[in-house]
């Protein structure tokens, strides 16, 4: 259980201490990538809770989502259409859906646990 948390902390530390600079024009790609990563993460958590978690799906979904979102934003910038808004919208909706599912499953688990304890 401690390994993922350690990974998260190391990742945050690396991101804060790195001197790597991204030009301002590409900052929108980064925000899309952040959204995609979060979406995949929450999707993975939901799948884990629903016991339908598959490592390969999770891993490929994570990277393809990020790459696809960045590519969409790139295309939008070069076509003059704000396509990255579509990505933001889609990822946002999915993010909230996933969060709602997770909340529901957790609530169900908790109430079942309480029933079992009181019984």
């Amino acid at each position: 259980m401690w390994l993922p948390i350690a990974g998260l902390l190391i990742g945050i530390l690396l991101g804060l201490t790195t001197g790597f600079r991204v030009p301002d024009a590409y900052s929108s790609y980064l925000s899309i990538a952040v959204l995609a990563a979060l979406d995949t993460l929450f999707g993975g958590i939901r799948a884990h809770l629903e016991k339908t978690f598959e490592e390969k799906v999770f891993l490929t979904g994570f990277f393809t989502n990020i790459i696809l979102a960045a590519g969409l934003a790139f295309l939008g910038v070069h076509l003059g259409v704000d396509l990255y808004l579509a990505a933001v919208f889609a990822f946002g909706v999915r993010l909230f859906n996933n969060l709602a599912q997770i909340r529901r499953i957790l609530l169900e688990k908790w109430s079942r646990y309480r029933e079992r304890k009181s019984a």
Partner: protein, 236 residues
């Protein structure tokens, strides 16, 4: 606790997510802090404010300049007025100097010559046949009254402080003795002066009746020199 493959994958994904999150967070912070310094509209606002302030200052300075100019023109007018006044004063002074006999005066005028009578009858006293100071005084008074600008007796200027005194057969004018004949020269309108002296029952008639020989002559150009030592005498 056994390390499962899913845990490794999860931690790897979390590491990547954390990296991206922190990185974008840092980037956003940087761009925001740099935006504070060079954000276009704020700079524009500041420049516009500066322009407005400069314009305000310009307007104030223009106002000041205008008021100073009006002050200057006022001062100039004042100077011009005082110059005019000085000019008038100088002119007045010239006229007054003429009257007091401090400057030479030149112009047309009249010459009156008073002389003792040549013929003195045996039975009468000689005193009635010579020119007295009152005769001279009368002529001078008449000349001044009829508008003479400068009067002299035997070349001696008569001013407002002059005195004429009788000392036996001679008369004294401001300390100078004069003998007959007395030539009284006056500068002024010669026509008018002559008329005034020749009035019926006027100065000439009276002098003649008092046995004084009177000869009046108009002159085109008379020069009366100033008399300096005379005024010193009067003052001392």
């Amino acid at each position: 606790m056994k390390v499962k493959g899913s845990h490794v994958i999860l931690s790897f994904v979390l590491l990547f997510t954390g990296f991206i999150l922190a990185f974008s967070f840092q980037l956003t912070m940087e761009s925001r802090s740099s935006a504070d310094f060079s954000s276009q509209p704020e700079v524009e606002d500041e420049l516009r404010n500066q322009i407005i302030m400069q314009q305000e200052a310009n307007r104030e300075l223009t106002e000041e300049l205008r008021s100073l100019q009006s002050e200057l023109s006022l001062a100039e007018e004042e100077t011009a007025a005082s110059e005019r006044r000085y000019f008038n004063l100088v002119e007045d002074m010239d006229k007054l100097r003429m009257l007091t006999g401090e400057v030479a005066v030149q112009g047309e005028g009249i010459e009156v010559r008073l002389d003792d009578a040549d013929y003195v009858p045996e039975d009468q006293h000689a005193n009635s046949f010579i020119v007295h100071e009152e005769h001279v005084q009368r002529v001078i008074d008449e000349l001044f009254v009829s508008g003479a600008e400068a009067v002299a007796v035997n070349g001696r200027r008569i001013n407002h402080q002059s005195y004429i005194q009788c000392i036996g057969p001679v008369i004294e004018i401001d300390g100078d003795r004069s003998f007959a004949p007395f030539v009284i020269t006056a500068i002024g309108d010669s026509e008018q002066l002559e008329l005034a002296l020749n009035l019926n029952g006027g100065v000439r008639d009276r002098l003649v009746s008092e046995n004084v020989e009177v000869r009046i002559q108009k002159q085109n150009n008379i020069i009366l020199d100033p008399d300096f030592d005379d005024s010193e005498d009067v003052q001392s």
